[in-house]
């Protein structure tokens, strides 16, 4: 037990010693400590270096608003930066490192910035690193090195995270006096309630104010709390979660909270759920989020050993840490007097209370005086001394406006200074919910005015600071809520407290200094190192809006989001510019309220659960046969099947050649398949495709192109008429879902008179595509009784064939230009049918080919791929497919747009083939084409869309979109590349079998 620890503290279990490390050195704390309280008990006040000037810093607070005491927790793959030590519960073996210092915290090289501070004014980076522009890359290296707080882990996070949905009648945020009273009132009724508390223990401000002599009814605050908690334990309709921070308040009372599951195990415990994101939907929300004490802005107000008064009380009362032996308290309101009393009672020499106000009697001031504590009225702390910890304060008498020093300096030796600049209601969640604030001048507080959602604010987050008022307000507002839930039974006010006489807060935004203002270091934002001077510089340079001042000076932009600094910045701007704070407004309170780990946001949606992976029924065969896979949307498609020592080029060339020479087999199961039934399918197809569909016979297939109403190609595919009122449409793999949606959209919203029903059957059928001159022989082998002759089963026709008692839909359609049969079998049979085909095709050297060979084969034949040859700006005319655009139809989707002034222009980009002069040169897809090389910029006339080597042609070839290309066959173009210029000639886009002989065999 060390001398800084008080005995008789029931929150700290001194029988359970906990060992931890800070900056590599071993210390001890006790069960119940936070890292902050344990460090302070070990007399460690210096816990970090400031961001810009690397000034020594200590804890300012005991809670979530802490700007200085942020540490890197643990190391390696479980490390977490920017953790507020005031919120980290101590656990055995904890390792924390101070941030932002080099080489160590007591001697920090970066502290030279402190001496150079005149050269680091507001907007320093904007002003300095702007020129010469070419130097930016050099600056960037150093800026990146200096910027940022903490280090992120470099390897996978071993923890798991979870998301949890919760619906309730009422959500209470915060468990201070008002939150607990509200919870008890509501829990009496038959309502589902969730109470969320960010700390690991319920009680809120009660935990730090426990020495107060105020009473609720006749109970001390702590006894009252225990009574309520005992009562709540018996209620099944209230769920209480602690160590849970509500960090976002969104539409329709949708709120997000993050719960730390093992606050006592910290990051050490692995392979279990570390944090849960609660996604809460509440009918009504009760905000009881409390308030945050403000620091005061005076010269050298940032030394270790300067702490917010109420936080000091919490360390003293709750954690039993005796912070000081000689204490000075500096305040502009009554609340800090309690801190003076608390410390006095625990044996600290309270040397003085410095109050900027004049003497006026109030209950608590009377009490302080009666204890013999010296109070300086109309005085202010104007400076402090002590490099690594405060050693003394300088005080001066000041005028009534707190703007001028009117008396000589007086030095008071001390080892701790508590400050209180008043209280700021925690309205973050209220404003996130888009509620409107109103400014209250007498204590400089923005308080909730008009809520936007079904929200009620109670207690100090509503600007209600006195105990009796909090109890009255909670009772009245919760009663209203209960009545709104039809709980009209008699509800009495159970708890009351007597009225105290309090003195008013007095504004003291900026304490004057004996020094020239330019030489002062009055910090407003401690985490981002923004001083009062910076704010004034920004104003002088013409920044008026609070949002601009914020960005220029970076005040309030650190990880604490200005919880302790924003209001002080506003006060100083208001004072300097003589504008009312009401008129300045506030900056936006953005979510999250406190930083949230990426792990928690991702939850379980990582790795294989990040997105759906779709696999075809033949997937296992592809794996067994050495396929590499390509992602097409969510689908895993076989890309190519390399043999022993083949590279990609060899494998693809082999697959392409074998298909043209004899037989190739492709898994086409991923193509979208839409089953279309109904009386009016013919009419429907006629409206959505560019060509004619009314006369398609049963058993026939037809290729169609689908446009948007802007005339641009949206999708293509073959549709087969299976029966009188039954069709099957195929779509491209990637567009299957969007085509289905668009068709459904037209049917439901534009043509409800059509009797057409769409069903996606993509996953119900596996599709085997047999391509090549020997395809027919395989079909004859697997179904010997069927007539596969050209006469009986011609190109673009369909037959339902029973093979081995399985009903197969076989289509003669082709995406290679070869004789092709596409066998659609129910998915559960697809893998065995695939193997059956492989076996039957063995004698014909059947070669499985993947998507890469498929691309080469279709490009050789001049078949387009939507999304490769088209990019949303290409019409079918541009693709040289006039033949598929009906001239006779009065209307179809996209028709009108095909003769807009722009779409009929002759120099639109049109599909052509390209042959390089050097037949081994393979153009890069996306390469730009020009007519002649001139100085930059050259006029570009087109670009390459597909480019491959063709083993069948024995040379490279490409497809391209070229301005006016349809009429430019034989023209020469250039493709300028970084290291050379490639000559190309425009050709027809069909390189193989232009007369379709192979196709129609």
């Amino acid at each position: 037990m060390n001398s800084t620890r008080l005995t008789n503290n029931k929150n700290i279990d001194t029988n359970q010693k906990i060992s931890f490390y800070f900056d590599g050195k071993n210390y001890f704390g006790y069960k119940g400590d936070t890292l902050a309280s344990a460090l302070l008990a070990n007399k460690i006040h210096l816990v970090g270096r400031s961001f810009k000037y690397h000034r020594p810093r200590g804890f300012l607070s005991a809670g979530t608003e802490e700007p200085n005491g942020i540490v890197q927790l643990e190391n390696d793959n479980v490390t977490e930066p920017n953790r507020r030590a005031t919120e980290v519960l101590l656990y055995e073996g904890l390792r924390a490192t101070s941030q932002n210092r080099w080489p160590n915290i007591k001697f920090d090289f970066g502290a030279i910035n402190d001496f150079l501070s005149p050269f680091f004014p507001a907007g320093f980076y904007y002003k300095t690193f702007m020129w010469p522009p070419t130097f930016w890359k050099k600056y960037e290296f150093f800026i990146r090195h200096a910027a940022g707080l903490g280090k992120s882990p470099q390897t996978d996070d071993p923890h798991q995270y979870e998301h949890y949905h919760y619906h309730c009648d009422l959500l209470i945020v915060g468990s201070g006096i008002s939150g607990l009273y509200a919870a008890e009132m509501i829990a009496e009724k038959d309502l589902k309630v969730l109470l969320v508390e960010q700390e690991d223990e319920l009680g809120g401000s009660l935990l730090s104010d426990q020495n107060s002599e105020q009473k609720i009814n006749d109970l001390s605050l702590l006894k009252w709390k225990d009574k309520i908690l005992n009562n709540l334990k018996t209620k099944a309709n209230i769920k209480i979660i602690t160590s849970t921070t509500l960090f976002a308040y969104m539409h329709y009372n949708y709120l997000l909270a993050i719960q730390d599951m093992n606050p006592l195990d910290g990051l050490k415990k692995k392979n279990n759920i570390r944090q849960i994101i609660w996604k809460i939907r509440a009918k009504k929300v009760i905000l009881a989020t409390g308030s945050i004490e403000r620091p005061i802005t005076f010269d050298n107000n940032d030394r270790p050993g300067i702490m917010l008064a109420n936080s000091a009380s919490k360390f003293l009362n709750y954690y039993g840490v005796k912070l000081a032996s000689e204490l000075v308290v500096f305040t502009n309101n009554d609340s800090a007097y309690q801190t003076a009393i608390d410390f006095h009672k625990k044996g600290t020499n309270v040397k003085a209370v410095i109050d900027v106000r004049s003497y006026k009697e109030s209950d608590i001031i009377k009490k302080t005086e009666s204890l013999g504590i010296k109070i300086y009225y109309n005085y202010a702390v104007t400076n402090t001394s002590g490099r690594l910890k405060i050693k003394s304060v300088t005080i001066n008498k000041i005028d009534d406006s707190v703007k001028k020093i009117i008396g000589p300096s007086l030095k008071i030796k001390c080892d701790f200074l508590c400050v209180s600049g008043g209280w700021t209601p925690t309205v973050h969640l209220f404003t996130q919910s888009r509620g409107k604030l109103i400014y209250r001048n007498h204590d400089g507080a923005f308080i909730p005015n008009q809520p936007f959602q079904d929200t009620v604010s109670i207690g100090s987050c509503n600007g209600t600071f006195h105990l009796n008022e909090i109890l009255d307000e909670t009772y009245i507002k919760i009663k209203e809520i209960l009545i709104s839930f039809n709980n009209n039974a008699q509800i009495d006010q159970k708890y009351k407290s007597k009225t105290n006489i309090n003195n008013q807060h007095k504004h003291a935004w900026l304490i004057p200094s004996t020094k020239h203002f330019g030489k002062t270091k009055m910090f407003i934002d401690l985490q981002n190192d923004v001083t009062a001077k910076d704010i004034k510089v920004a104003l002088r340079e013409g920044f008026q809006s609070i949002e601009h001042v914020k960005r220029y000076t970076t005040t309030g932009m650190a990880t604490d989001q200005g919880k302790t600094s924003n209001i002080n910045a506003l006060g100083i701007i208001s004072d300097t510019t003589n504008r009312k704070i009401d008129d300045l407004g506030t900056t936006t309170f953005r979510l999250p309220y406190t930083p949230v780990t990426f792990g928690a946001l991702a939850g379980r949606h990582i790795k294989e659960f990040f997105d759906v992976e779709r696999k075809t029924p033949m997937h296992s065969w592809h794996i067994d046969n050495n396929a590499l896979f390509e992602d097409v949307g969510q689908w895993k498609r076989a890309w190519y099947y390399p043999k022993a020592d083949e590279n990609m080029n060899n494998a693809v060339n082999r697959e392409v050649k074998a298909t043209r020479d004899s037989l190739g087999i492709l898994d086409a199961s991923t193509l979208g398949k839409i089953d279309i039934k109904g009386r009016d399918v013919g009419e429907f197809l006629n409206r959505i495709y560019t060509n004619a569909w009314l006369k398609l016979e049963i058993g026939k297939c037809r290729y169609g192109i689908m446009l948007g109403d802007d005339g641009m190609v949206m999708d293509d595919g073959v549709t087969t008429r299976i029966d009188e009122n039954h069709y099957v449409m195929t779509t491209t793999t990637g567009n299957a879902a969007s085509v289905m949606s668009k068709l459904e959209d037209w049917l439901q919203t534009e043509w409800p008179e059509l009797q057409v029903y769409l069903t996606s059957i993509t996953e119900q059928f596996g599709t085997i595509s047999l391509n090549g001159p020997n395809a027919r022989k395989v079909m004859e082998k697997i179904s010997p009784s069927h007539d596969f002759s050209k006469e009986n089963f011609p190109h673009m026709s369909f037959q339902n064939i029973n093979i081995d008692n399985v009903s197969c839909r076989v289509m003669r359609i082709s995406f290679t230009g070869e004789l092709c049969y596409e066998i659609n079998v129910p998915s559960s049979y697809a893998n065995s049918f695939w193997k059956k085909c492989i076996k039957a095709g063995k004698e014909f050297n059947i070669t499985p080919y993947g998507t890469e060979a498929m691309h080469v084969l279709r490009a050789e034949k001049g078949f387009i791929i939507v999304g490769q040859e088209t990019d949303g700006s290409i019409t079918p005319i541009d693709l040289d497919m006039n033949w598929i655009v009906s001239k006779k139809k009065y209307d179809f989707i996209g028709k009108r747009a095909l003769y807009r002034s722009d779409t009929i222009k002759e120099d639109r980009k049109q599909l052509v083939g390209l042959l390089t002069k050097d037949s081994n040169e393979i153009l890069e897809e996306g390469a730009q084409l020009v007519e002649k090389e001139t100085t930059l910029p050259m006029a570009m006339v087109g670009h390459v869309t597909s480019s491959y080597y063709s083993p069948n042609l024995g040379r490279s070839f490409a497809l391209a979109l070229v301005k006016g290309g349809s009429n430019k066959k034989g023209f020469k173009l250039l493709a300028p590349m970084p290291n050379k210029t490639i000559e190309v000639e425009i050709t027809s886009p069909v390189f193989i079998d232009p007369s379709n002989e192979r196709l129609n065999t």
């Binding site: 969104m250 539409h251 329709y252 949708y254 939907r281 404003t431 888009r434 509620g435 409107k436 604030l437 109103i438 400014y439 923005f446 005015n449 008009q450 936007f452 949002e547 009312k580 009401d582 008129d583 300045l584 407004g585 506030t586 900056t587 936006t588 309170f589 109403d709 802007d710 949606s741 459904e744 959209d745 439901q748 919203t749 534009e750 409800p752 009065y890 209307d891 028709k895 009108r896 747009a897 807009r900 002034s901």
Partner: protein
């Protein structure tokens, strides 16, 4: 994230729905007779109101049915949900009133002084 009451399934999270843009855009019955400008109007010109917006929504991860929604885009309040093909409802909402076009309540960044708002 708001809650939408699908007319077929009931109240569901917004994540289940997709928005299909402005409602009551009817595809012309006589495209060949329209000028380029008229066709462009149908294709591209849409309202983007701050305030009342009539829009199409689809219960995409649900029943996949389309329906119409009258929504106040300044507050995200859903005022009315009605079927495809129904006439646009007559809806009165409180129009945005502040000089900057912000809604009278609910903007994120604002001055709290009522006087300034009037004086500007």
């Amino acid at each position: 994230m708001f809650i939408i009451k699908c007319p077929y399934c009931g109240e569901r999270e917004q994540a289940e729905f997709t928005c299909g843009g402005e409602a009551h855009i009817i595809r012309p019955k006589n495209p060949p007779e329209l000028t380029d400008d008229q066709w462009a109007d149908y294709l591209f010109i849409r309202q983007n109101n701050k305030g009342l917006q009539l829009e199409r929504w689809n219960h995409f991860f649900g029943c996949r049915q389309w329906f119409n929604v009258a929504r106040n885009t300044a507050t995200d309040e859903i005022i009315k949900i009605y079927n495809m093909g129904e006439k646009a409802p007559i809806v009165e909402i409180e129009e945005p009133t502040t000089p900057s076009g912000e809604p009278s309540i609910g903007s994120g960044n604002f001055s709290t002084s009522t006087n300034t708002a009037k004086n500007k």
